[in-house]
């Protein structure tokens, strides 16, 4: 038998279910502009019917429906799309960080325009040409001086800006690590709340939305993976190690690294082990700071020191209008405070290396004649291993062949024939640490090439070898001190300037060449004030293949630097654009699943409203039925 009031109960259930459905629809509509929100849906199911199959069931057709009830409030979300977005966001973050910085580096170089290192350099070459025409005039000297100062300032400015960018990237790394920790901490807190809510059988949909949004933000910063396999424990990994595991959070830390100029290194705070950072903004920032900016700074340094040294080399042989000679043109500040080049590399207060940048031999050589001697040169490569490299030379080789062999080996030392037809070696940027930039590591010759032929080393064989890891090793070198340049102080671009001798007396600019009278081994008598040939020799350096590594001219070197940064910029720009399109499409895909369509909600609302109205009608209807029965009783 059915109860008399059963209909009212069914009507009430209908009212309640539709009311809740209307509330959820309202929740959806009010979150229509919330990008993190996933649409929710009320799952209305039929209540368990009356009479389970048993012997005591009423003898009538069944089951008898008992109306509806809300089974759950479902969050509609596709986690596979989330994972795709997470991966693409990492790449996006990486390229975004690179793009921002490379754009700024391009602005520093200010190319192609007429205010740049290149235009200043062109102006200096022009200045030397004009000086060569009127060496006796003060005006042309003044012009050369001003052009040189302008170039030096431009180099200093460029270095300063690049260094500023490097520090800025470093600050951003520290900031990003803090942000990662903050997000991870919040994810941990949310994990806790979600776990508790789910334990009570609730659907913490909005908390999950928040957590997913944080994971997405985190994925732009660093390469993360998320494991959702355990329902009760969401795990966030960075490079395979847990950042968050359920309610446990392992923070990162940015620690100053003494091996990298005190720049931040990202470590796990608890174990102080390396973090495997592959992608995301953090990886982008690190690659910008340690690769792109370091390379650019080193290149500007190399540009500065090579220009300084090469112009000085020619300038020192020349004579000023005031008959002065052996003056530098650009200022050279040696890293060591003594003339032997002894220097304290590891900062323990005791000199431990001999730091020489350039050595040219005493003897004039014919570079294109066969050398007629055989032997093996030994160098030490400019990497952390200090590995030995052996280069053989044979009697039929010319010196140019040998130089090419050395330069092609890319071992951090470059040979060339200088303007006085002497063999010269100079050091390049170090591969391991910036502190060892511009230091010649090792020179050794089993035969006579560097010894008797070129006049660089005193003795052949290992006992005559020069090695930078010994102090006072300058005594192994026979070349006169005038032929040796001590390694410059760190970051020569940062203090590039013209020499004081020239700053205070432009007549010291050596436009004239001279003669060596009396065989002193140095030019000691000027050719006369009308001679501009030394200025011409300096102007000719424009076309000298003098820049290290690439064996290019100064202009080539600088141009290739710009072309490199331009290509990097172009790549970053293109990658960003494609990543943006990809992410937009993925966001739309997710939006298609989880987003709110107001028309749809409106239609649902009308539907639920009708359901609600109709349920009320059912109650009214039952009410009238009951009234009929009650009236029937009164009538008797």
């Amino acid at each position: 038998m059915n109860s008399t009031f059963m209909g009212i109960e069914i009507g009430k259930k209908g009212l309640l279910a539709h009311q809740q459905a209307l509330h959820v629809t309202g929740h959806n509509i009010s979150n229509a502009a919330n990008e993190d929100y996933s649409r929710q849906r009320v799952v209305i199911t039929a209540s368990d019917p009356l009479y389970v199959p048993a012997l005591n069931r009423a003898n009538q057709p069944g089951n008898i429906g008992q109306g509806s009830e809300v089974a759950m409030i479902q969050r509609i979300r596709d986690e596979f799309i989330d994972d795709r977005i997470m991966v693409e966001k990492q790449a996006f973050g990486y390229w975004k960080a690179r793009n921002d910085f490379i754009y700024q580096i391009e602005m520093v170089y200010n190319e192609p325009s007429d205010q740049s290192i290149r235009s200043r350099l062109d102006a200096l070459w022009e200045g030397f040409q004009e000086l060569s025409k009127y060496p006796e005039e003060r005006s042309t000297r003044e012009v050369v001086k001003e052009k040189a100062i302008a170039l030096a300032n431009e180099v200093k400015y460029t270095y300063g800006k690049l260094y500023e960018l490097q520090k800025q990237a470093n600050r951003q790394i520290g900031h990003t690590v803090e942000q990662i920790n903050e997000y991870a901490q919040t994810i941990r807190d949310l994990n806790e709340r979600i776990l508790k809510a789910e334990a009570l059988g609730d659907n913490p949909n909005d908390l999950k939305d928040k957590r997913d949004a944080l994971i997405e933000k985190l994925s732009q910063l660093v390469n993360i993976n998320v494991s959702r396999t355990d329902k009760d424990e969401l795990i966030v990994y960075i490079g395979g190690e847990n950042l968050v595991q359920g309610e446990v959070f392992r923070p990162l830390a940015a620690i100053e690294d003494p091996d990298n100029n005190g720049m931040y290194k990202v470590l796990w705070k608890q174990t102080l082990t390396d973090v495997n950072i592959q992608s995301g903004e953090l990886a982008g920032l690190i690659s910008i700071r340690d690769e792109v900016l370091r390379q650019n700074i080193n290149d500007v340094n190399a540009f500065a020191i090579n220009l300084t040294d090469l112009i000085n080399e020619v300038h020192r042989d020349g004579f000023g209008k005031n008959n002065q000679t052996n003056n530098n043109f650009f200022k050279h500040i040696a890293v060591s405070d003594n003339v032997e080049g002894n220097f304290d590399l590891n900062n323990d207060g005791i000199n431990d290396v001999t730091a020489l940048f350039k050595i040219s031999g005493n003897n004039k050589v014919d570079a294109s004649a066969a050398i007629g001697i055989t032997g093996t040169l030994t160098f030490v490569k400019n990497n952390a291993l200090d590995q030995e490299i052996k280069i053989n030379y044979y009697a039929t080789d010319t010196l140019l062949d040998v130089i090419k062999r050395v330069n092609d080996a890319k071992i951090g030392i470059v040979g060339y024939i200088n303007h006085n037809s002497q063999l010269a070696f100079k050091a390049t940027i170090a591969q391991d640490t910036d502190k060892k930039n511009f230091i010649i590591r090792h020179l050794e010759d089993s035969g006579q090439l560097l010894v008797g032929y070129a006049g660089i080393l005193k003795e052949s064989g290992p006992q005559g070898a020069f090695d930078y890891r010994r102090v006072d090793d300058i005594r192994k070198i026979i070349a006169s001190r005038e032929h040796i340049t001590i390694t410059p102080m760190f970051n020569p671009a940062s203090y590039m300037d013209i020499d004081d001798a020239i700053k205070y007396d432009i007549d010291s600019i050596a436009a004239a060449k001279g003669n060596d009278l009396g065989g002193t081994g140095d030019y000691n008598t000027s050719n006369g004030v009308g001679d501009g040939s030394n200025a011409l020799a300096m102007a000719a350096l424009k076309h000298k293949h003098a820049m290290v590594d690439s064996n290019a001219t100064f202009n080539d070197f600088y141009t290739s630097l710009i072309s490199r940064i331009g290509s990097q910029g172009e790549e970053a720009k293109d990658r960003i654009a494609s990543q943006e399109t990809l992410l937009k499409n993925l966001a739309n895909l997710r939006e298609s699943v989880s987003g709110i369509n107001l028309d749809e909600e409106m239609a649902n609302m009308v539907q639920f409203q009708h359901g609600y109205n109709a349920s009320a009608r059912v109650i009214a209807m039952i009410d009238r039925m009951l009234e009929t029965i009650i009236k029937l009783g009164q009538g008797v």
Partner: protein
């Protein structure tokens, strides 16, 4: 079926509008500056090419400046040498007249001597002539310092013959052999001066030392310079080997061993030989050529060396003295011949200067042509195609307008508009 939400429509619209605006911004930048590359990233290849073209342009403009300046330097030399020729034409007339015995009377001799002395002054003035920048043009690198203001210094003496009074008896060259070079193209240097010891020389010079060098052996590897060209000798070289080296050095000087086993140097083109030991070398001193007390040029020839050969001034002075003496035979024979030799030498220099002027003219044309090529290629590389860019801009503009119109319509209607 794919659901489409209001947010998606919104996102897509904003995305597209943004993209158009970005492109319009870039095109506006291009149209406003007329340049297609603002940053290297816009087109790395074009950016680096533009840098190379700009550097090449600066360079070629410098070469053109150098060429123009070289032209005026050469024409200074040219006009100075032309003046010398004019004086020589008059001298020749005097010499021919003297050879015919016109200047026999005392008065006439005196008049001729006075005229020739005036010419000598004029010749020295020309030799010391200063160029546009106020510096002597025939002094090599010696362009007028306080202690040596002029490259040619005349020496006067009171002469009673012909009642000449204070007259020139010689001229010393105190300049040097410096070649003033101009870079007129990449790695191409042109000397734009003629040193005085070449320009104002009349005959070939012969220097014969007065020392037996048959047993000479070089003690050490060393070098010396003749006319500024370095000659290397190795330890143990004999005099014959050294003579060979000099003769194969491509100089206008020939070396030989004289009758007394002495070293003899002779020019093949009239000029004064310039000798110096280089560095610690001592060969020229050992051979008795260079004065050990004054080893540095100029005027460093050992006093024991017998020198023959005359400068233009020596030659004119000799003509004057012969005329005053009334030696018709010498005037008509030797002196007239010498005048012709001197004329030949000056004309040779004028011809050389002319040849250089021609060469430089060609270089100027070549450089101007190269410059216009660079300008052309630079304009092509950095300039934008205005009509094309404007057409693209208009096209983008209309696309943007459509996007706005469509967007406005697609986000407007909702179900709410149709419910009560």
């Amino acid at each position: 079926m794919q659901r489409v939400t209001n947010q998606m429509i919104n996102n897509t619209m904003i995305y597209n509008l943004n993209k158009h605006q970005q492109e319009m911004d870039k095109m506006q930048d291009m149209l406003a500056t007329g340049k297609n590359v603002q940053f290297p990233r816009d087109n790395p290849v074009a950016a680096t090419n533009q840098m190379l073209y700009k550097t090449a342009l600066v360079e070629i403009e410098q070469y053109i400046k150098n060429i123009d300046e070289s032209k005026s330097k050469l024409s200074e030399v040219d006009s100075a040498l032309q003046s010398v020729i004019r004086i020589f034409q008059r001298l020749r007339v005097l010499a021919v007249q003297g050879a015919h015995g016109i200047y026999t009377s005392f008065e006439r001799k005196e008049a001729a001597a006075t005229e020739i002395n005036q010419m000598l002054e004029e010749l020295v003035n020309i030799a010391n002539i200063r160029g546009a920048t106020g510096k002597p043009i025939f002094g090599g690198y010696q362009t007028g310092t306080e202690n040596i203001p002029d490259p040619f210094v005349p020496i006067y003496q009171t002469l009673t013959a012909g009642n000449q009074g204070n007259a020139m008896i010689g001229v010393q060259y105190r300049g040097n052999i410096g070649k003033i070079l101009r870079e007129v193209a990449n790695g191409e240097y042109l000397d734009v001066n003629v040193p005085g010891n070449w320009a104002f020389w009349a005959t070939n010079q012969v220097l014969s030392a007065n020392k037996d060098v048959s047993q000479y052996r070089a003690l050490a590897t060393q070098s010396f310079k003749i006319d500024g060209v370095s000659i290397q000798i190795a330890a143990g070289d004999t005099i014959d080997m050294i003579v060979d080296k000099i003769n194969n050095a491509g100089l206008s000087v020939k070396a030989s061993i004289g009758a007394r086993n002495n070293l003899v140097l002779e020019t093949t083109v009239p000029h004064a030989i310039w000798l110096e030991d280089e560095g610690s070398g001592t060969f020229l001193r050992d051979a008795g050529m260079v004065n050990p007390d004054f080893p540095n040029p100029p005027n460093n020839i050992d006093p024991t060396v017998s020198i023959s050969g005359m400068s233009i001034f020596d030659m004119v002075i000799q003509l004057r003295d012969d005329l005053v003496r009334g030696d018709q035979e010498l005037v008509g024979g030797r002196d007239l011949g010498l005048i012709d030799m001197a004329l030949d030498n000056v004309l040779r220099h004028i011809a050389q200067v002319g040849a250089k002027e021609n060469r430089i003219e060609e270089l100027a044309k070549r450089s101007e042509y190269a410059k216009s090529n660079i300008l052309d290629i630079l304009a092509k590389s950095e300039g934008i195609d205005f009509p094309e860019t404007i057409m693209n801009f208009r096209w983008l503009e209309s696309v943007h307008n459509y996007a706005l119109a469509v967007g406005a319509r697609s986000i407007k209607p909702t179900l709410m508009d149709f419910l009560r």
